[in-house]
Amino acid sequence: MTVTNFQPATQEEHFSPESHVVPVSLYVVIWATLMVCTALTVFAASVDLGIFNIVVALVIATFKGTLVVLFFMHLRYSTKLTMITVIAALFWLFIMFSLSMTDYLTRAWSTYG
C-alpha cells in the first residue's frame, strides 16, 4: 500500500507499479495440476464410495479452486486488503449455507417435539 506516499516521486517510481510477474513455467505447472485433478475427479466418480463420492469431489474441486484463486487470480501476490476481501466472501457464503441448513435440517424436529 502506498496511500501514505504523498511525496512527489521521481518519474521512474511514479509510473512503475510493482506488480509481480509470475513465471510462465509456474502457470503451466498449475494448468497441468488442474488437468490431472479433473481426470482424477472423473475417475473418482466411477468408483462407488457411497456418501464419500461427494466428499472426494468437493475436496478435489476446492483444491482446484484454491490453485486458480492463488495463482491465476494472483491472490498470493495481492495486498492484504484483497486477501481479507476473499476471506470475507467465503465467510458470508458460509453464513448463508450454515444458517439456511440449520433451518432446513431441523424442521422435522417439531414432528417429534
Partner: protein, 228 residues
C-alpha cells in the same frame, strides 16, 4: 517502448490517485469486491441446491445420471485451458508484449466459444429428451426395471441444472464480450507494463467464471457413481 510506456501511464493516471501503483491496487480491489457480490449471487443458487439435494437426494441422483460426464469433463478441461491462455495473456500485457497478448486472448475466446458450443449440444440433448422443467417435462430413468422414484423432485434438479449452468453460460458470453473489447484496445496499443489494469481485471472475471464451473461440474454431473 519506454517513452510510449510513460505516455500511456501519464494518459491513464487519474488525478485522484497518487501514482499508478495505487490506482492499480484500487481497481483490483474494486474488482474483487464485485466478485464477492458475484460469489453471493451464485451462492444463492448453491444454497438452493444444498437445501433440495439434502431433501431429495435419490431424485437428484436419478437426474444426474442423465448428464453426459464426458462432455462435462471436456468442458472443464476447455475452461482450464482458457484460464491458462488468459493468465499468459495478462502476463504478456504486464511484460509489454501487446501482439502476444492479442494472440493469447484470441485463443482464450476460441476456448470460450468451444465451451458454449459443447454446452449447446448438451442443452439440445436435454431439451429433446423433455428434461426441461415445465409443462413438457417428462422423466424416464431409461431402465424399465427401475422407474423414476420421484419425477417431480427430479424436475427440481433439472430446474437447478438449467438455472446454474444457464447463469454460468451467460457469464461466459459476457466474458467473451469483455475479452473482445480488451483485444480491440490491445490492437490500438492502449496498454503497457505501467497500465494494464483492464486486462488484469477482465482476467480476474474470466478466472472467476472458470472457478464457478469447477464446482458446478462435480455437483451436477458427479453426484453419485454413473450407472449403465
Amino acid at each position: 517502448m519506454a517513452t510510449s510506456d510513460l505516455q500511456i501511464a501519464e494518459h491513464n493516471l487519474q488525478h485522484h490517485f497518487a501514482d499508478m501503483e495505487q490506482q492499480q491496487e484500487t481497481s483490483t480491489f474494486g474488482m474483487w469486491m464485485f466478485l464477492l457480490t458475484e460469489i453471493m449471487f451464485f451462492g444463492g443458487l448453491f444454497t438452493a441446491y444444498l437445501v433440495y439435494r439434502s431433501s431429495y437426494y435419490t431424485a437428484f441422483v436419478e437426474g444426474s445420471q442423465k448428464m453426459n460426464i464426458w462432455l462435462g469433463a471436456t468442458n472443464t478441461a476447455v475452461l482450464i485451458c482458457s484460464s491458462l491462455t488468459m493468465a499468459l495473456g495478462v502476463r504478456a500485457a504486464q511484460t509489454g508484449k501487446p501482439k502476444l497478448m492479442v494472440v493469447l486472448l484470441l485463443i482464450t475466446i476460441l476456448f470460450g466459444l468451444g465451451f458454449l458450443g459443447i454446452k449447446a449440444v448438451e442443452y439440445h440433448e436435454h431439451w429433446t429428451n423433455h428434461e426441461f422443467p415445465g409443462p413438457n417435462f417428462h422423466f424416464e430413468t431409461g431402465d424399465p426395471a427401475h422407474p423414476p422414484t420421484d419425477p417431480q423432485h427430479t424436475e427440481i434438479y433439472f430446474s437447478l441444472y438449467w438455472a446454474m449452468t444457464g447463469l454460468h453460460a451467460l457469464h461466459m458470453v459476457i466474458g467473451v464480450g469483455l475479452v473482445s473489447w480488451i483485444i480491440i484496445m490491445g490492437l490500438r496499443r492502449a496498454y503497457s507494463p505501467s497500465y494494464y489494469s483492464p486486462v488484469e481485471i477482465v482476467g480476474l472475471y474470466w478466472h472467476f467464471v472458470d472457478l464457478v464451473w469447477i464446482y458446478l461440474f462435480p455437483l451436477l454431473y458427479l453426484i453419485s457413481k454413473k450407472h449403465g
